[in-house]
Assembly symmetry: C2
Homo-oligomer: 279 residues x 2
């Protein structure tokens, strides 16, 4: 191999440059990144003008980031990359509940509430009872499981997006299962909403002929001693955007029933069991 | 194919989402990008923690960019991507002078000077006479070729990096060839210098066991009616960093002789002919 750059051996020229005593995992990851990035440029015969546009896009994507906004995670989300990394790292046996993306709206230390409590504090939306069991792969109830839940309100916003409008902890709560493994809480039937689309990623979606909406979903973070952490959503089965989630978060097994009840206490009921995998 | 995301069909899930009436070239480029990015994640089994580090790196890279600094171009440079895009778009017949990266230090409208003029205005460094011909693939001289040249000074800085220290247009000039196709100017033997390494890209190079230096070089932008634009450097053949240019700009054919002269007028002489390709 020539010690100088050539188009044919561009990958080798770059990767041969790494030092001998560096972190071996870093070396592996960077060598693969260079290989795939160069293959991309060669595949499409990327022009200088196109690369200039990409540089400008990446720069704007970094510059719009702030304490409240992470446009690079959004970019990763809309390219299916976040879901892919999640999938690679959370392969589970058949029957176990699948993971999906965590999203940016979880808040630590939400209040722990008595089983059955109402988490909708703003009185908006169609009430829904969420209930089911946390079980192991054999169907045995898991006691002491921590079920941390969060959703948007009926206007499509999380409480943290509207701190001056929504009550603190609106549509959030933590429930701990008893010996029967059961959980239950009262919330609202969630609604679909757009991801932030007023920045570079929104512009990109527009150029790609894609909409920015996520189908309605309830977030769950379920943890229990001796089991893998489960980060997931349940999706409302009749949502318009179910097959076109802007961040590709939907998995078939996560579509939950939303049954019309109207028993004077609630309008909807959504039963769903969470099946955890042992560590 | 499932309409929902799966690890195996992650690329298809994302690329099937593009609209029907979008720019076909954009569709082609994005589909390839998604394919190669997903292949990278799968190849190395990228962990969530690693991806979090990458998101933070990309964000910092965007945020350090300013009117005077383009850290994403620097990132592209050190990954050999800039050289690759340049190579893909400037394939030339054997015998033609090769391209290399343009770099960030060119300034438009440098003064046009009489042939043989001295461009070193600060009196620093070892004087060097640069001379040769601009010719076509058959060796015929090209009249009216515009030879735009620029280099660092003896301290390793371009004039635009030190506007308060260096004279304006120090080590820059434009020369127009006559009927004989010859060019000649007096400058200094350039010196090696580091790319900006106090940001995220510098930190990355450090983790990769790489230094930030570029081998000494003289920049050329050679244009003539009826010929392809040539963007190139000539490199000083005995430079320490010749085989480890931080941005992979060196090509074997661009290493120029630097001959010791000491004739009372100059210390060095560097002859080099530029061979242009017809458009």
């Amino acid at each position: 191999m020539s010690q100088y750059f050539t188009e044919d051996a561009s990958v080798e020229a770059v990767n041969a440059r790494m030092g001998q005593n560096i972190n071996p995992r870093l070396a592996q990851v960077m060598a693969s990144l260079v290989k795939h990035l160069h293959a991309f440029a060669k595949d499409v015969h990327l022009s200088q003008a196109e690369w200039d546009i990409a540089i400008e896009f990446l720069t704007k994507t970094g510059q719009i980031c702030s304490g409240e906004r992470q446009e690079f995670i959004l970019l990763s989300d809309v390219l299916g990359f976040s879901m892919l990394v999640d999938a690679i790292n959370n392969r589970r046996p058949a029957g176990a509940t699948e993971n999906t993306v965590f999203g940016p709206f979880h808040v630590d230390n939400a209040p722990e509430l008595p089983m059955g409590s109402n988490i909708s504090l703003d009185g908006k939306g169609e009430s829904c009872r969420f209930e089911g069991m946390v079980i192991d792969l054999h169907g045995n109830p898991i006691a002491g499981a921590r079920v941390d839940v969060w959703s948007d309100n009926a206007d499509g916003f999380y409480d943290v997006q509207q701190p001056d409008i929504q009550p603190k902890w609106n549509n959030r709560g933590v429930f701990i299962t008893g010996a029967d493994g059961r959980y239950a809480f009262q919330g609202i039937k969630p609604v679909s909403y757009p991801i932030p689309d007023d920045g570079p990623v929104g512009q990109m979606l527009n150029h790609l002929g894609r909409h920015p909406y996520r189908p309605a979903h309830m977030h769950y973070l379920v943890t229990a001693k001796g089991f893998e952490k489960l980060v997931t959503h349940t999706f409302v089965g009749d949502d318009t955007y179910l097959s076109s989630d802007a961040v590709f978060g939907v998995k078939k097994t996560l579509i939950a029933p939303f049954e019309h009840v109207n028993d004077g206490q609630t309008i909807w009921r959504s039963p769903f069991d969470f099946v955890l995998t042992p560590v």
